[in-house]
């Protein structure tokens, strides 16, 4: 019966999308304020179209050091949320919190500057990239964590500055990008091995690298500087934010080739495909804006200015109605979460957060 679950989930999304009478009113997402060592629980009331901070949770280890909460995710059953703490002595860590109480449950050490992550519903394991943002130009890893016992099971060597860990709809593959080697990397969530390395910049027609290639000898002059990968919910497509070339890339994972290159706003950073597969929402870090791309039409249907600079993350409600955008701000300026109505393609509210709002993940709608 397990195979039926994704199918039912998919049908459920379709049904929800087509049903106007049954509307959720309350939407909740967690967002990390990286330079404030805080995580906020954001509540958005669809009736009033207003967002508020429902709760603020202090995270980290040292009150006099900025520990840097960066990536965030929520368990499939919604009972726990997880945040990666970028800095440590010297390693970062993963912290697990209860969504019921927002209290710390457990931690485990990770690698250097752990960042984005997600949990596979098939394996129940959490896959977190060790971004090693400020480290040497050498391959880093994806740490695999068993979230119940909070045990770091293994580290899978991957590219240089890996980022944007997202699990495909089947739960069988994790996708991330290697920022400094211009690669899209696929990990088999069950064998815990890199199953595909796909070079993004060498050929427009697409050329896949072999998983056994010696990347240590590669010359690191990234062109695309990819920063995020997100799988399409129903099609064998991965969308990649090419931060260095101002492009949105579409990669077909059946053929392993780049099937679309869209020119975007400046420095696309994070992105997410709506659960109904209609749009991909892209943050433009370099211009403080968010682009909404219609995937059928293959064009940007809206570019929405953010309330401040340095746009960062995006998470979308399961009913595909709202996108929640985190925006970092600069210096002492507060960060923000900006709510975009994906039906009207308009920003409906902005809520200010702690400094450098970054990792953001949807929790629940009710």
């Amino acid at each position: 019966m397990k195979f039926l679950k994704p199918l039912f989930t998919l049908v459920l999304f379709v049904v929800i999308a087509g049903t106007e009478n049954l509307q959720a009113q309350d939407y909740y997402a967690y967002v990390a304020a990286e330079s404030e060592d805080m995580v906020h629980l954001i509540h958005f009331n669809a009736e009033t179209q207003q967002a508020t901070i429902a709760e603020t949770i202090e995270v980290g280890r040292y009150p006099t050091e900025t520990d840097g909460p960066h990536g965030i995710t929520v368990a499939p059953d919604g009972k726990h949320w997880f945040v990666s703490i970028a800095h440590g002595n010297p390693y970062g860590m993963l912290a697990k919190y209860s969504t019921e109480t927002n209290k710390l449950v457990s931690t485990t050490d990770l690698g250097m500057f752990p960042a984005s992550m997600e949990i596979s519903e098939v394996t129940g394991l959490l896959y977190v990239v060790n971004f090693n943002l400020h480290g040497e130009m050498k391959p880093s890893s994806v740490s695999v964590v068993e979230p119940e016992s909070m045990t770091r099971i293994t580290d899978i060597e991957t590219g240089i500055m890996p980022h944007g860990s997202r699990i495909g709809a089947s739960g069988k593959y994790q996708y991330h990008v290697s920022m400094m080697t211009d690669e899209l990397i696929q990990i088999n969530t069950q064998t815990l091995e890199v199953s595909k390395r796909f070079k993004l910049s060498e050929t427009k027609g697409g050329m896949s690298g072999h998983k056994d290639m010696d990347h240590s000898k590669m010359e690191h002059k990234p062109v695309e500087k990819p920063t995020w990968a997100h799988p399409h919910p129903t099609k064998p497509l991965i969308y990649v934010a090419a931060n260095g070339s101002d492009e949105l890339l579409e990669i077909n994972t059946k053929k392993w080739e780049i099937t679309q290159r869209y020119k975007t706003g400046k420095a696309p950073y994070n992105l997410e495909v709506t659960p109904d597969g209609k749009y991909v929402v892209v943050t433009y870090k370099g211009e403080g804006a968010t682009g909404i791309w219609d995937l059928e039409e293959g064009k940007e249907v809206a570019k929405i200015e953010n309330s401040r600079k340095v746009s960062h993350g995006v998470t979308i409600s399961p009913d595909s109605k709202y996108a929640f955008i985190s925006v970092e701000g600069i210096g002492g300026e507060p960060g923000s979460v900006e709510v975009i109505n994906l039906q009207t393609l308009e920003r409906v509210d902005v809520v200010e957060t702690g400094k450098q709002a970054g990792g953001i993940y949807f929790w629940k709608q009710s």
Partner: protein, 674 residues
């Protein structure tokens, strides 16, 4: 049509939402009825032994439903394990390996625990040590037991016995003290597992007939905290010295009050004694049945002085971090303070008249935290550090502070420094920048508009980390958390207290190091005692074991460790200054005074004159304390002192919540005795 489709969708939705929990429940039920079976079900391994664990998932009827398992453990430093079940035992002990279905999904994935026992390696060699050639009846002395296993590890957890061939002559008690009862020859045998070692010795008649006790405080008043060196001389009946007579020292103390003191004094077996509390003390020296004693009084150290606030530069819009005070090229006195978790500001102050501290300029850079601020020896160049830059390229900013009222940014340097620079030191036109908590980069700033990196220094220990670096006489003293303090020659001067190793900024050479178990080493400061000439490196902790509250008062832990270096190879931790319920941060030593910031414990000024031994806080060495607080502070009335700097007779300090302060010790009551 729309109405029809909506009704259909609604019906489908109800169907699906009704089914979804059933599916999840069914998954969980399936998982609950499945079990993981491993072969073997438990393991007993030797160190270095490798084994392959296998397993599968069974249903309630015992049918194999899956063979896809992952194996893992939280004891990764003791068991090397791969996800497919290959295990290698690295360390002895009891551990658990978890075998879990890889396809079990999120809820209740089938799993089982596999207990693993890794045996200690067998004992390879044992020996008894520390027993001198001449043994005297009636005396006792400790023997040292050494047990080494086949892996070359020295073991302290092995049961052993020490037996004497002639118990009437000599025995060893349960605390490994060799008791010498009468003259004669005996053999001691140490046995551990199947290894043994014997040593034969001869006990002589004790020639000691008399003990004489002298000390180095003759005609001097002993104060609390003064280290008195006692020296017992054993003599024969004829008056000859017995050089190798074993002597033990002890004391009896009667404090001046009966207020339930704890330890009132401390004595070492080399004869050094220090009183924590004033009172009457009798120090005794014993050799066999012969003993001698000396009674004296220890008086209060009486070094307390009043401290007064001279001026304040309130910073209320953000938190304040480090400070630096210097004499400007115009002869006036200036200060710069950093800011934490704010808008990337460094604030410049005119402190020429410390009664009227005046902010004269603010430099704002793209950062959230300017943690550290330093000014060079000439007073014309400053360096500030950046963390939280919006482009994530942090590094350092080099400033022209020739006119501190109009500070000019000369350059921004972030080559290989993008991870954030937490602390720096400027020394002879080079910046030593603590880089991303891993190492310090050495940057030439002879041309401050065109800095360049000349080298770096990084430890090679596993998981190494660094917090701060301080330089004196061409030797860099870094603080490295669990790796402790590390001294590196970066151009050692003749004036340095310890020899160098021909190092330079381009060729930093490690000289010595000292680590302590807590791993809290956060700061380091070298000093030569003005009163004794002894050389110390003072290592400060930082720790927050009580959690954090960024909007209220916080409580830190940790203390200041005094490490005496007679040479680079034999550091010894000899004393501590620990404030109850507070924790150390930054500090400074000038003359024989320690100025220490203790976060919620405020500023402490401590007399560190004379030899240092034991608990300096308990010895009444604290000269003064001050708790900066202000009802208009960033967090009102919440002391959280960051760092001090003595300068031209004043004590400047930065406080996280309230900014910059100038204080002065009053010239009263420093007579040293009661």
């Amino acid at each position: 049509m729309k109405k029809y489709s909506t009704t259909l969708f609604s019906a489908l939705l109800i169907l699906m939402t009704g089914l979804s929990p059933q599916l999840q429940a069914q998954d969980a039920e399936e998982n609950n009825s499945h079990t993981v079976v491993t072969a073997p079900s438990s393991l007993h391994l030797e160190i270095g032994e490798e084994v392959q664990l296998t397993g599968h998932v069974e249903d309630a009827e015992g049918n194999i439903v899956s063979d896809s398992l992952i194996f893992f453990t939280r004891a990764r430093r003791s068991l090397q394990i791969t996800t497919d079940g290959k295990i290698k035992a690295l360390k002895p002990g009891s551990f658990t390996v978890i075998a879990r279905s890889i396809q079990g999904g999120w809820q209740d994935a089938p799993r089982t625990n596999v207990p693993v026992q890794v045996a200690y390696p067998p004992v390879a060699e044992v020996s008894l040590n520390g027993i001198p050639n001449n043994l005297y009846a009636g005396t006792s002395l400790p023997v040292k037991v050494l047990i080494e296993d086949t892996m070359g590890e020295m073991r302290t957890n092995v049961d052993y016995t020490i037996s004497s061939s002639k118990p009437s002559i000599a025995t060893v008690d349960n605390f490994d003290n060799l008791q010498l009862h009468q003259p004669g020859t005996f053999t001691l045998t140490l046995q551990a597992e199947d290894q043994s070692s014997s040593i034969t010795k001869k006990v002589q008649q004790n020639p000691t007939a008399e003990l004489a006790l002298s000390h180095n405080y003759t005609h001097k008043t002993v104060r609390t905290g003064d280290v008195v060196q006692f020296n017992a001389q054993a003599k024969t009946a004829g008056g000859s010295a017995v050089q190798d007579a074993p002597i033990t020292y002890s004391y009896i103390g009667e404090p001046n009050d009966d207020l339930g003191h704890g330890s009132i004094a401390q004595i070492e077996q080399d004869g050094r004694f220090v009183a924590n509390k004033p009172g009457k003390y009798t120090v005794m020296a014993k050799s066999g049945n012969t003993f001698v004693e000396h009674t004296f009084r220890a008086v209060p150290r009486n070094v307390q002085q009043e401290i007064e606030v001279v001026g304040q530069g309130l910073v209320s819009h953000t938190r304040t971090s480090d400070l630096w005070i210097w004499e400007g090229v115009d002869g006036r006195d200036y200060a710069v303070t950093g800011t934490w978790g704010g808008n990337g500001e460094a604030i410049f102050w005119d402190v020429t008249d410390p009664k009227n501290i005046t902010a004269i300029d603010t430099v704002t850079v793209d950062a959230r935290t300017v943690n550290d601020v330093k000014v060079n020896e000439r007073g014309d160049i400053a360096v500030i550090t950046r963390e939280g830059a919006s482009n994530r390229k942090n590094g350092i900013i080099i400033l022209d502070v020739t006119d501190p009222s109009n500070v000019e940014i000369l350059s921004e340097y972030n080559k290989d420094l993008t991870g954030g620079v937490h602390n720096t030191f400027i020394y002879e036109d080079h910046v030593y920048a603590v880089n991303n908590g891993r190492r310090y980069d050495i940057i030439n700033i002879e041309d401050p508009r065109n800095p360049y990196t000349v080298n770096k220094f990084e430890l090679g220990t596993p998981g190494h980390s660094i917090h701060d670096v301080w330089i004196e006489d061409g030797i860099a003293y870094s603080s490295n958390w669990s790796d402790g303090v590390v001294a590196v020659d970066i151009g050692s001067k003749n004036s340095a207290e310890m020899p160098g190793a021909n190092g330079s900024p381009e060729n930093p050479v490690q000289l010595g190091s000292y680590a302590y178990p807590s791993g809290w080493n956060h700061a380091a400061f070298p000093f030569k005692s003005e009163s004794t000439g002894d050389f110390y490196v003072v290592a400060g902790d930082e720790s927050f074991p009580y959690g954090l509250d960024t909007n209220g008062a916080n409580r830190a832990a940790g203390w200041v460790h005094f490490i005496k270096f007679d040479d680079w190879g034999s550091p010894k931790e000899v004393a501590r200054y620990k404030v109850p319920e507070a924790g150390s941060h930054n500090y400074w030593i000038e003359g024989d005074k320690l100025y220490a910031a203790f976060y919620n414990g405020g500023l402490r000024v401590v007399d560190i004159s004379g030899e240092l031994m034991g608990d300096l806080y308990e010895q009444g060495r604290e000269i003064a304390s001050f708790f900066p607080r202000d009802n208009e502070a960033f967090i009102p009335n919440a002391t959280f002192t960051w760092g001090p700097q003595p300068y031209k007779g004043y004590i400047y300090l930065s406080d996280w919540n309230s900014g910059l302060w100038a204080l002065k010790l009053k010239d009263n009551n420093a007579n040293g005795t009661d």
